[in-house]
Subunit: 293 residues, 2 copies
């Protein structure tokens, strides 16, 4: 909720011209920017992604006409119906989303057929004239990984380690889970393990990286705890449960997929701003959809 408000306010103030105080919005407005098409912006972005464009990628245009003039960019974890409405209110016609638009990894739509939700979202995108482009594989391919950079900024861990392993002041597993819950702005965080287990060396894997890679991190790295976004509940959590039962000091903290990667899409605004001077760019957080009882 907090993140959602911040994101919207940042853009609106930018639109109103108070850009000097807003690090997330370019202050270098130039006439040149208004001549860019959305395709131009994509070409400029891909110049700084190693080996782009990729032959096999989910990072395709999901909706709209990218030959149109660019009016502004919204970055987000996921182009939800609400995020699309906000982009329209903000006058932005280009949404850069990390996750799929149509409820499956490859954004396949044949199976959705005449589904009412898919239809409503498609109509909204057409009414607003908004292009949605996925920026998942490319953002993870930037070195260092764009999502990870944003997450480390959010956590203040830029100097705490490298790759996926970080060393932090010792805390119990429960204390660490609580601290990460606050830093990521999650409504609820799950953990597996002994709540009192000391944690100092942390494996960090935002998003849903998959059971085998998550378990391999826990297995091969000498880490106390793996912090990740999402798991399959017959995989990583069961591995850690067995590890603890067998007497090993291992823990798992599950942040939630959205909060674990949203900071990476917030950071994308900062990364894009010098590359697209004069273009209005803002982060509109998707936010978590979950309530808890």
């Amino acid at each position: 909720m907090h993140q959602r408000r911040t994101g919207r306010r940042t853009f609106l103030q930018g639109v109103a011209g108070a850009a000097a105080a807003l690090p997330l919005v370019s202050a270098n407005a130039t006439a040149a920017a208004s001549d860019l098409t959305i395709n131009d912006a994509i070409r400029i972005i891909l110049k700084d992604v190693p080996n782009a464009p990729f032959r096999n990628t989910v990072d395709t245009i999901k909706s709209g006409d990218p030959t149109r003039k660019l009016t502004g960019i919204v970055t987000t974890f996921l182009a939800t119906y609400e995020v699309i409405k906000k982009a329209g209110e903000l006058g932005a016609n280009f949404i850069i989303t990390h996750e799929p638009t149509f409820y499956n990894h490859r954004d396949e739509i044949a199976w959705l057929g005449s589904d009412a939700v898919y239809g409503a979202k498609k109509r909204l995108l057409e009414q607003k004239g908004i292009v949605v482009w996925r920026f998942h594989d490319y953002w993870h391919a930037v070195r260092p990984d764009g999502i990870m950079t944003g997450v480390l900024k959010k956590l203040g861990w830029e100097q705490a380690g490298k790759d996926n392993v970080f060393t932090v002041p010792q805390a119990s597993l429960r204390e660490l889970a609580l601290s990460l819950k606050q830093k990521f702005g999650s409504a609820s965080v799950r953990f597996v393990g002994n709540p009192n287990q000391p944690c100092r060396k942390i494996g960090l894997s935002p998003g849903a990286y998959g059971g085998q890679p998550q378990i391999t991190m826990l297995s091969r790295q000498s880490i106390d705890v793996l912090v990740c976004g999402e798991i399959a509940e017959w995989e990583t959590s069961e591995y850690v449960r067995d590890a603890v039962a067998a007497g090993m000091a291992k823990g798992l903290i599950v942040i939630g997929h959205v909060p674990s990667e949203e900071p990476g899409m917030e950071y994308l605004v900062e990364w894009l701003t010098p590359r697209l001077p004069g273009v209005k760019i803002a982060h509109v957080p998707a936010g978590s959809p979950f309530n808890y009882v």
Copy 2:
């Protein structure tokens, strides 16, 4: 926790001979049963599974020698390290598990290599001489679906509908989530949607059936809410979030994978008992591994 205690107590009392008061343990002890091998028991079970044995199935022996004499059966959601220890304490050498033993759907082990947790679990199984057999595809193939039968008994919904759709007294989405949390014994339940949305017609899908089938249920059936075990957080939850944002009265309740299917493995004891007279059979719940902050 409650279920875990119940399961253990049931078996221990059965072992102690107080079987008459214990509906989950066979009261028909016969000498014949002691002559059964584990393979014999599997053959007897598969006689009542339509079209069994299947050519392609994950329901294979995961550990141990099924030609050994059967000493007792433990049913469980997942053969965790703790469940294996308990089966050993109870003198049972045959665990029937719904979910995988080695942290991936097909129980592939090559990737685990010299992993310490896999090694510890394998050693424990060998020390105890326990056979683990998965009973996932077969139990779902019994008509009516064995997991669903157990879940409906747990919920008291046997007369509330058929297949996957049930009609219950009207409650708000939040009230329904709370009520299901209590009935399933979950520590925490997530939901997506307007907490005040009236719910009466419910789609029920225990376990992790997959985004496309879950979304298709919500799309094609005139249900108010889908109740499921586990989701991928870029699929079903995002579909429901968009549905609500587009003005549709839809909800999603996510129980957790373990609590949503454990009642089906508890019910398996009742199903097995007349088929294997004289065999000691008990449910040992895996329980949920999660703590919450």
